[in-house]
């Protein structure tokens, strides 16, 4: 891996795979590094193997999931390394290249790229309710990827609590697989339909199939016989005698407190860009007030404010899997153009299809953002809720300093929040929002943790292996 590559793609989800396919079409020398054992990212987790070894499971996982197999196929032939965890993207060298450092099986390796594409996607928004650290509390995405990857499912009472398209999709996949769900607690704030109506015409025009699918999912949930609690808030997970989750408490639309027994509680309040690598390279980020998260600032091709570093897919802003494919293609086209593999008119011509489709995806996203806004309580956790899971810092502890801290990085110095192995992934947004709220500023003014290498823990042995 010592030679300089044209393009280093990080992440083998829809954006990375589509970029790889496009890069291959233009004979770019690309390498793809992905942390999972298999390609597909989260949305297409393990899809190639599932299609080959467990084809019957595609029946309940659905056609949109099965589509991922064609993406993996389109990206075949690319130099793809699975189980490869990237933990550093270096500054530009004198020759304009940039070093990416990654580890696999306890050994660190370097690769230099003329360009780098960050396609590390989204993660589920942290949901800091009291008891969310209990064993048995997990996320909707976690239940879904486990079903895809390993055909496993919660065997006891599964309670789904949250808001957004993903809980609807999971409920339908579980129904189709005949896996029972004990209850669905819908935390979508009331009155959203009226607010969202204005976005329906453009979404219907831009992404009619997806809109129809969404409506079908809603109808299927309401007919499935699973009890659905609407307009819920004030969630708390409660432990049983064995220390694992035993029940979830919440307030229903009427304000009454309810309690439902649960062996597994799956939370979900939307997805946000995984910020580690775009932050690491020092790219400029902008607060998205509707999606309540930071997005890296990019040009229309996905290039960040750091020259030669591109971002594609949900890591650049939440638009969904279909748009991720398009943005991966667009980034690879821009790289091909920069490295002289195609001229400007060819670039524009080949980009048009993906740009058109993105208009539709944006229209759909405006509708989804209006329908499923992150609830306001996400930024105001109960005092006894753990905010930083790694260092076990509660909302009360953070509140005690939030009013007078200079920002998230000073709060980190005060409390150690964000200093554990997850490096702030599961507390960063909460800390920013709580400080902003305490100081009467905006999250944009408050800023975010400074992210430094290594973005994943490495051993001294791994560091030493770099000099071999």
């Amino acid at each position: 891996m010592s030679a300089v590559r044209d393009l280093v793609i990080i992440g083998a989800g829809p954006a990375g795979l589509a970029a790889a396919a496009e890069a291959r079409d233009h004979e770019l020398d690309a390498v793809m590094l992905d942390e999972q054992p298999e390609p597909g990212g989260q949305i297409y987790r393990s899809v190639a193997r599932v299609a080959e070894r467990r084809p019957a499971d595609l029946g309940f996982l659905g056609a949109d999931y099965a589509h991922g197999a064609s993406l993996v196929d389109a990206a075949s032939g690319i130099d793809r390394r699975q189980g490869a965890t990237v933990w550093q993207i270096g500054p530009t060298a004198n020759d304009g290249t940039r070093e990416v450092i990654w580890s696999r099986d306890g050994r660190a390796q370097r690769v230099s790229g003329r360009t780098v594409l960050i396609a590390t996607g989204a993660m589920e928004r942290p949901v800091p309710i009291p008891g969310w650290t209990l064993p048995g509390v997990t996320t909707v995405g976690a239940v879904q990827v486990s079903l895809k990857q390993a055909a496993i499912y919660p065997a006891g009472r599964l309670v789904i609590a949250g808001s957004g398209p993903l809980p609807l999709l999971l409920a339908e996949q579980l129904r189709a697989a005949r896996i029972p769900v004990a209850a669905i607690i819908d935390t979508t704030p009331p009155g959203r339909l009226t607010a969202a109506m204005a976005h329906v015409p453009m979404a219907a025009l831009g992404a009619p199939d997806t809109l129809c699918k969404g409506l079908a999912l809603l109808r299927a949930r309401d007919r499935s016989g699973v009890p659905v609690w609407r307009d819920a808030f004030g969630l708390r997970a409660e432990a049983g005698p064995d220390g694992a989750v035993a029940a979830v408490r919440f307030r229903s639309a009427s304000g009454e407190e309810e309690r439902i027994e649960a062996d597994v509680l799956a939370l979900h309040e939307g997805v946000v860009p995984n910020p580690q690598l775009t932050r690491l390279v020092g790219a400029e980020h902008r607060w998205h007030a509707v999606q309540r998260c930071f997005h890296p600032v990019t040009d229309p091709w996905g290039e960040t404010t750091v020259a030669g570093v591109f971002v594609a897919g949900d890591g650049g802003g939440i638009l969904g899997a279909r748009a991720a494919e398009g943005s991966g293609r667009l980034a690879a086209l821009a790289v091909a153009r920069r490295l002289g593999r195609l001229n400007e008119s060819a670039q524009e011509f080949q980009a048009a299809r993906w740009q058109m489709r993105r208009l539709g995806d944006r229209a759909l996203r405006r509708l989804l953002d209006a329908l499923y806004p992150a609830p306001d309580w996400i930024a105001a956790p109960d005092d006894d809720a753990v905010v930083c899971r790694c260092e076990e810092i509660t909302a009360a502890q953070l509140r005690a300093v939030a009013g007078h801290t200079a920002g998230p990085n000073q709060a980190k110095a005060y409390l150690r929040c964000g200093m554990g192995p997850c490096q702030g992934r599961l507390c960063g947004l909460t800390v920013t929002e709580m400080i902003a709220r305490a100081q009467g500023t905006t999250p944009a003014q408050t800023g975010y943790y400074r992210i430094r290498a290594p973005i994943k823990p490495v051993t001294v042995d791994e560091l030493a292996s770099l000099s071999e």
């Binding site: 189980g83 993660m123 048995g136 997990t138 499912y153 064995d242 597994v264 995984n274 192995p421 992934r425």
Partner: protein, 104 residues
Amino acid sequence: MMRFARLPNPGRSRRIVFLFEGEPVEAQEGDTIATALLAAGAGATRTTAVSGSARGAYCMMGVCFECLVEIDGTPNRQGCLVAVTEGMSVRRQAGPAVIVEDAP
């Protein structure tokens, strides 16, 4: 108690046997350590370094670090990112690491 089951039709997936706390555990091709341990009913797989509270897998996608286990003698590995292989030895993690000092 948190328990995961596996769908009955494994298709053409191979069976894999690995060791958990020294005992053989059956897994299926495609499993990560984290999915295999969920299916085996392992429950909480570590206690935290700060308070010693019990934790189990949370995100299953490599961001939360709750599924940390010891794999073939190396602690702090993310179970959700490591594929199970035949004969692999996996152990729970209890609290903070213990630093063994050399005898003077």
